[in-house]
């Protein structure tokens, strides 16, 4: 320590700068590498979260499908599934007219059903008929066209809404969700492909593949994640 009081020689200074440079370069590399790994890990988690959320939502909705769904191709093979989602069900309480169906046990709110909802009779008097709902009160549905056979208190009805999962572009990687047949709302992005299948009458298979938003700096490619689920239709 006492020797250093004599000052620094140029050689000492150069050596010190060299050592600090090497140490700084190593530290910088470590920082950049950690940062890249963090970004990659975040990207992977985002991809997995998107895929799981999309899958979870589709499973929940498809469980409620009433009757067999229709699987078709819009952009890629079997990427669209159209189904009638069960919204409510019950027995009519009777006293129906040719354009109404009553269920006095219900307390529907005024905005429950719009014209994109359908009421169908599945059992009892008038079974097999389905009509659009044109208006409703808390206990009465009014249908858009008269019943051929008006339902009575033996009639079991179901209220459904046509929904679909699909995509509209091969490049935007967005899984879309259609309610009521007209609006394509984005459900999840980062979904590069998905397919639906029907192994048997009550089962729906879903496979979807998601990818990270950014490339993996090590491989120069985007990471991918594939999920497969089987849904048992309850209705």
């Amino acid at each position: 320590m006492w020797k250093s009081e004599q000052g620094l020689t140029v050689n000492e200074l150069l050596l010190a700068v060299a050592i600090v440079s090497v140490l700084s370069a190593e530290a910088y590399n470590a920082l950049v590498s950690s940062s890249q790994r963090l970004v990659l890990q975040n990207g992977i988690i985002e991809m997995q979260t998107d895929a799981r959320a999309a899958m979870d939502f589709m499973v929940r909705e498809l469980r409620l499908a009433f009757g067999p769904p229709t699987i078709s191709t819009t952009v890629t093979t079997n990427d669209t599934i159209t189904f009638d989602r069960l919204e409510d069900a019950g027995y009519s309480s009777g006293s129906n007219t040719i354009t109404t169906l009553n269920d006095t046990r219900k307390t529907w709110s005024s905005s429950n059903f719009t014209t994109s909802y359908t009421v169908g009779i599945i059992s009892g008097t008038g079974a097999g008929q389905a009509r659009s709902i044109s208006a409703h009160t808390s206990t009465r549905l009014t249908v858009s066209s008269p019943w051929d056979t008006p339902p009575d208190s033996s009639s079991v009805y179901v209220i459904t809404r046509r929904k679909a999962f699909t995509r509209t572009s091969a490049s935007d990687n967005v899984l879309r969700y259609t309610a009521g047949g007209s609006v394509n709302q984005p459900l999840a992005d980062l979904i590069t492909s998905h397919t639906f299948s029907q192994p048997d009458a009550h089962t729906i298979g879903i496979t979807l593949t998601a990818q990270t938003r950014n490339v993996d700096p090590k491989t120069g490619q985007k990471r991918q994640y594939t999920l497969t689920e089987t849904v048992l239709r309850r209705n």
């Binding site: 620094l8 470590a30 019950g90 079991v156 209705n235």
Partner: protein, 405 residues
């Protein structure tokens, strides 16, 4: 003493500062990564909780459904106008609890609502609409009118969906060989005559058990009448269109009259499917054989005709599948007589609530029978297949299922 510039004097501290800077940066990155991980762990935990809640609620629906199947006799007592507890909070290991309420849905239906609650306070609610469809074959021997069993006739039960009757024996056979009349007397007499189950007389009928006969279960008089669900006539049409010869091998069949006969030791084999006949007559050792699911509908075209099923004094029915559900015989007319004969492979279910059913030759019949009056004095052994009580379309049927939230 010389005093150099302060910075130059303490240059060795630069390593400490550099080290601290690196540590700070790494700590920031570490904290950020930890925070992100915690957020995504929370997301995963929520997903797990919601799935756990869903399966708890589903368990509640299944529990309630099974409960209602087992207590279907009290079905109407659960139809209250407000939601009433059906299954109280039931803990499923340490996964959480489910609670089920029941309410009248009108039209004879019930609405059950199951709530699955996890320890993490996730609640999932599932609602189901249920209906009870009366079984066509609720007992071993069911009659609209009287039942008279004597000469060592016995009833017991087994479940063909579990195993064949050969896996049982008279000691282990089930005690569901119930005998039930809707509105008529039940007479049980003679040594060895035994009902391994309940004897229940409906309406103004009474059960009489004379010396030598036994009832292992309960004996009830004046029970409510039985419901006899109408038979679907569509397979035959109205007036009936008798089956063509397709699928019928052997024997003698006339599609114009709907008469199927097997005599002199011949065997008539029916391919799987549904048939509409007027008569089935097996005589002289003639055999009616089925190897897969067959339903036979018996009906007449003109009033005054008779529509019989006669197994004759020898021969009879052979159902190689070992399951009564695979040979179901329905009578659509009231001018009909059913004569059955037991044997080693007589697995059949007969639904003829307007017809007389008699037996010959003793032997075993595995299945169930529903008639207007049922009489046996030959010691036939009726082994009720309880699986017939839960055939498709009977029992508790779920009409609609939905996850409310």
């Amino acid at each position: 003493m010389r005093h150099g510039p302060r910075l130059l004097k303490e240059e060795s501290g630069i390593a400490l500062i550099t080290g601290l800077l690196i540590l700070m940066s790494l700590t920031t990155i570490g904290l950020f990564a930890t925070n992100t991980t915690i957020v995504y762990q929370d997301i995963s935990a929520n997903l797990k909780e919601s799935k756990q809640g869903f399966y708890l609620a589903e368990a509640g629906i299944q529990h309630a459904r099974l409960f209602l199947v087992q207590h279907s006799d009290n079905w109407s007592s659960y139809a209250s106008s407000t939601a009433t507890p059906l299954i109280t909070a039931t803990q499923l290991f340490n996964l959480g609890t489910y609670t089920v309420t029941v309410q009248d849905a009108g039209g004879g239906g019930l609405r059950i609502r199951s709530t699955g609650s996890t320890p993490g306070q996730a609640n999932v609610v599932i609602e189901a609409l249920l209906r009870r469809n009366t079984s066509l074959f609720p007992c071993a021997v069911c009659a609209r009118g009287t039942i008279a069993l004597s000469g060592g006739t016995t009833t017991d039960s087994f479940d063909s969906s579990v195993s064949g009757y050969t896996e049982y024996n008279p000691l282990t056979a089930g005690s569901n060989g119930h005998v039930r009349s809707s509105n008529g007397d039940i007479s049980l007499s003679g040594d060895g005559t035994q009902v391994q189950g309940n004897a229940t007389a409906g309406g103004s009928g009474t059960v009489s058990v004379s010396a030598g006969a036994t009832v292992t279960g309960t004996t009830t008089n004046g029970a409510p009448p039985l419901a006899f669900p109408p038979v679907d006539t569509s397979p035959c049409g109205s007036p009936p269109a008798y089956s063509v010869s397709d699928g019928i091998t052997g024997g003698d069949y006339d599609p114009s009259t709907g008469e199927l006969q097997a005599s002199d030791g011949t065997t008539v084999i029916l391919a799987p499917g549904t048939y509409c006949f007027r008569n089935v007559k097996l005589s002289g050792g003639g055999i009616l054989q089925v190897n897969d699911a067959v339903k036979i509908y018996l009906d007449i075209k003109n009033s005054g005709e008779k529509s019989d099923f006669a197994a004759g004094s020898s021969g009879g029915v052979v159902n190689t599948t070992g399951k009564a559900e695979n040979l179901q015989i329905f009578s659509l007319s009231s001018s009909q007589e059913i004569k059955l004969r037991g044997g080693t492979q007589v697995y059949m279910a007969v639904y003829a609530p307007n017809s007389t059913i008699t037996f010959s030759g003793g032997g075993d019949i595995y299945g169930a029978m529903v008639g207007h009056t049922i009489t046996d004095s030959n010691g036939t052994k009726v082994h009720y297949d309880v699986h017939l009580n839960s055939l498709a379309g009977s029992g508790v049927v779920m009409l609609a299922w939905r996850q409310v939230f």
